[in-house]
Symmetry: C2
Subunit: 216 residues, 2 copies
DNA sequence: TAGATTGTTAATCGATTAACAATC
DNA sequence: TAGATTGTTAATCGATTAACAATC
């Protein structure tokens, strides 16, 4: 087995791995298919077969020539590569209607799907009326408790679902508390220290892009 | 003024336009800045100045050499290019907790911001208990009413916030009803007829990408 | 073995950056 | 005019595709 050379892998490649993983999840669930060619995987993921092979080759050799990829083996390797083979504990900051929806959705998946390892273990808000309230078994804490809870619960990832004005402040506190990856739903470009990764899910921005394609 | 040559413009370019627009919105709101260089716009949007100029040049000449871009003029031109200068009526299908959050968020922005032209005018769900319920002034309708309401209300865009299994069916019905742009929150790759644009907001996929960057 | 499909290298394509002439 | 900054062309960079030898 060829060793992976991480660090050099481009974001474009990483962004496709969850697509492949979803296809494998579905096939593993269905249980029919044992083997899968890059052709088939590509079709289902919406990617060319050559690109599938090239993407996977960055991380090792997972297929057999003339045969294809073993669904369960490739799935478990992708889960390992994405660090989804172990539980990842997540904090969610901002329990407004969006935050609440995100919390519920992910909590539910975590409880239902046996190996959905994204685990929201803490909720935070600044509204004193919300603090103490329990959502799907998780209490809402004040932001002051962030450092202690990140430490105690082993939180490594966070979602920010607060108003735009508050997002940078929250990001600062998350980074200070040691959170290494942030999914930001506020429409602002966050500045974070090196070593912290941010992805922005800019929902209104997506709508604005789509509007471009409307004629007139 | 040089005429735009639309159709050839890459998605990479279009995806940055909302970033520029947001910067211009903020500056216009603040009211301080009248003129802006590609340098400054780039910094605020997280893009190189050369790329800012190149992106804008696809659509025309909006700046003055030696001077820069007029904030209000460029803003209004970008709004026009993105078709955000006129109201865009949107249907939202699936009023679960995520759908509800999306509806509330966008309704509120539409009511508060004078020229936020993304207007959710109809909500749809299959749950008979929800049908008839009113969310922020918009009633929830049954999916059967989709064609009539799309037509009557002039709906051109839609958001899908239903469970993964139901998403393709909803997309088919939206396309059949004449909706031309779809923002899909379900973790599936939708197939749509030519002329219909789909963007996928795969929130769990984003988290999975982020997980890659966690060490160990 | 013959057929199939991988892993990988080389060719192509497209997007970003650098540079600069045009011009305000 | 001198200084600044655009719009645009050329150079670079990176990502995707095509092709094929390796091999199951």
């Amino acid at each position: 087995m060829v060793m992976a050379r991480p660090g050099k892998i481009s974001e474009a490649v990483v962004r496709r791995l969850p697509l492949y993983l979803r296809v494998l999840d579905e096939l593993a669930e269905a249980g029919q298919t044992k083997l899968l060619s890059s052709q088939e995987l590509g079709e289902r993921a919406g990617v060319t077969p050559a690109l599938v092979r090239k993407d996977l080759a960055w991380f090792g050799e997972f297929g057999k020539q003339g045969v294809g990829y073993d669904v369960h083996y490739l799935r478990s390797e992708l889960r390992r590569i994405l660090h989804l083979d172990k539980e990842i504990r997540i904090a969610l900051v901002g329990v407004g209607s969006l935050g609440m929806a995100l919390a519920r959705y992910h909590r539910r998946r975590y409880l239902i799907e046996p190996d959905f390892n994204l685990h929201i273990v803490a909720l935070f808000d600044t509204d004193p009326r919300k603090i103490g309230e329990v959502v799907d078994g998780v209490p809402i804490s004040s932001l002051g408790e962030l450092p202690v809870l990140v430490d105690r619960l082993g939180i490594r990832m966070a979602m920010i679902a607060v108003p735009a004005e508050a997002a940078q402040g929250v990001a600062d506190r998350l980074a200070a508390a040691g959170v290494k990856a942030i999914l930001n739903f506020a429409p602002v470009k966050l500045k974070v220290p090196p070593g912290v990764h941010v992805a922005t899910a800019d929902l209104s921005g997506e709508l604005q892009c789509l509007a471009y394609y409307l004629d007139r």
